[in-house]
Symmetry: C2
Subunit: 398 residues, 2 copies
């Protein structure tokens, strides 16, 4: 008897989480595991977020509005205006995490079988959201040799069919850390305009930009204001990943209103976390300045340590807190698992996310991993030392 749907079978396992059982086993066996697989910062959630929750004055934890609390939407509009974005409360729909923002958007603008073009590697869960929405991801390959810059615009044009509804980017990029240039953003603007497409832009790492690189938001592009849909989240910004508060931002109110219908079906985003977010918008700049200095230090250390390992190819990412590097192994997926099951240094090992799960094209990323530099510099040193030793000992090394 058939139990599950094809859709249930089709849902990809997350490369970020699928090795967790092996890590759990290692921990149960008394090993220490350094978690470089997931973008879970160790940075403290700011007091601005936590204080109003500790002082919660909500005798009835009631349903909120489906679009999120108006006071929160106003506050987020203020936040975006600081980045020179023309955003008002009416342009914002609060969602349950950035995940829901993506699913609602795909469902609001795409029918079953429609296509969205995404440069790969891309945030792996886009695959799962596409399965849920019944739409097809059409990947265009960016490559490690070019530091994962935007693929040639002609290669994007070639992929456009009568089913293409949107191009989607993540900027700064997860998993590559790439930050799109002004010229790249202008090229995207033109292709969207020429082909009547939406530009979906996941900008949850907006604050995490290094070396003075400028972050050009899709919201800054002129003449396609009604084609741009920004997907955002507080998770990384306020180190509040468990808060599950995200947002859809667009000047196109037909999109916002359609997404709101999906929002009404699920009633509302979490009420208590919204209270924290509203206050968190006033987190002082000094908090972010310290965080960025810390992440830049971690990135510099991580990149230099990885480049010291023979056979490792590692670009120098300008944003977010991930990088994708190439390892001298037969199969990075097997290697990452082997590190958890078969290898340790002084009873400690480390966990990475195999990069093949960040590609839609079968066979790509087979010798690449995504590493999140979310640990302190001491732990980064220890974990990359373990990686270097593991690469020496791994039976499938090249």
């Amino acid at each position: 008897m058939k139990i599950l749907s094809n859709r249930g079978h089709d849902m990809p396992s997350s490369p970020i989480r699928k090795l967790v059982p092996f890590a759990d086993k290692a921990v149960a066996d008394g090993k220490h595991v350094y978690y470089l697989n997931i973008g879970q910062p160790d940075i403290k959630t700011p007091e601005t977020f936590l204080n109003p929750i500790k002082n919660l004055d909500m005798p009835v934890v009631a349903y909120g509005p489906s679009a999120g609390f108006l006071s929160l939407r106003k506050k987020f509009a203020e936040y975006y205006q600081r980045f020179n974005m023309d955003v008002e409360a009416d342009d914002i729909l609060i969602t349950t995490g950035g995940s829901e923002a993506i699913i609602f958007t795909l469902m609001a603008i795409m029918d079953i079988g429609d296509e969205v073009i995404i440069p790969e590697p891309f945030y792996t869960n886009y695959n799962g959201f596409a399965v849920q929405a019944g739409v097809n991801v059409v990947p265009i390959k960016s490559s490690i040799e070019d530091g994962f810059q935007l693929p040639p615009i002609e290669s994007i044009r070639e992929k456009i069919t009568n089913k293409t509804r949107a191009i989607m980017i993540c900027n700064p990029n997860n998993p590559t850390g790439y930050v799109y240039s002004k010229a790249e953003m202008e090229a995207l603007r033109q292709i969207v305009l020429d082909n009547n497409l939406f530009l979906l832009t996941d900008e949850v790492y907006r604050e995490f930009v290094y070396d003075g690189a400028e972050h050009i938001s899709a919201m800054h592009l002129k003449g396609i204001e009604d084609r741009v849909i920004m997907l955002d989240s507080v998770s990384k910004r306020y180190s509040a990943c468990g808060a599950r508060i995200g947002m859809i931002v667009s000047k196109n109110h037909e999109v916002i209103e359609s997404a709101l219908k999906f929002g009404m079906a699920r009633l509302c985003p979490p009420s208590i976390e919204q209270v924290g977010c509203e206050a968190a918008v006033d987190t002082p700049d000094s908090y972010f300045e310290e965080v960025i200095i810390e992440y830049k230090k971690r990135r510099d250390l991580m990149v230099s340590l990885l480049r010291e390992i023979p056979g490792v190819v590692c670009p120098n990412p300008k944003g977010a807190f991930y990088l994708v590097c190439k390892l001298p192994v037969d199969d990075a997926d097997k290697f990452a698992q082997w590190m958890l099951t078969d290898f340790s240094v002084n009873n400690a090992t480390m966990m990475m996310a195999p990069a093949n799960g960040f590609y839609a094209t079968e066979g790509l990323g087979k010798d690449e991993v995504r590493i999140a530099y979310v640990l302190n510099t001491d732990d980064i040193k220890k974990s990359i030392h373990i990686l270097a030793e593991g690469l020496k000992a791994y039976p499938g090394k090249l």
Copy 2:
């Protein structure tokens, strides 16, 4: 140019929320509005839930496990065991509200175009979840004259096709307040067994049963343990609707594991609210006893006041905190809107949910409304008085 998807257009407006703009306008015009449209209890959230949140010790509000915190799943298993259900932590997947539990379940067991049979009227958002999942709701009519009991089992059998994957019930029922009898549950058990179907059972109102009626859970049925999927939520139980914590419960671990893949894509349910829920499971029985006494008083008052109004037909529901009644009007949808836009008594008016949105069959429920008895008895008296006066004045009265 086509902006939205057909799916975006197909998403039904929630009958519970679609009149909200008219209510907001009434409030802006200085009127008082009694909200009987939504199941938002005025009952205080218990201190057991709120205290651990006020004393939150979570320096980093981090991602939790995709299945929810294990400690919470263990605690919920304890809770279910009190109701003589054979439930362990492994049988439970924590979701972001009952809404997500329903969507994940539909997607895990059904493919696009598959069918789920549901007695109508039903919780209106099942329609929206079905659109999102790309599956079809096949309604079978229950009627107000029979107090909304389960339709004859033959009428269910007639609807089964090779695309039917499940029967779904809500028990105690939203919107009707009906509580299914042992004989009805046994009939469902048999039809599920005979036709290899799943039985989806939404039991979020488990505690809200009056007049000594016995609540038979689908989890109590013998021989179909692998066919039963329970959908649940803390929203009503702990008057914590804004907490967005729900759960999927099943002895069928293939279902749980498939749903977990959808859960991994969205990373995790809200961390802070999970902390409240874990402690809330130890809410003393006295809290529920008081709540049930209060709701029973409200129901008794509501039913007797409604039955005093000429032309109103009102069953006496045995559970939940809703009822569906028939009004002597041309169109309950228009009437409910008119009450907000054109009518008031001493500058106050009241809001109901038109029942047509709770039916999938076009044209049914046209003269019915759903009323939630979630206000105190004083407010119930005032709001039903306004309803009675409105029915006298409404131009479309019959």
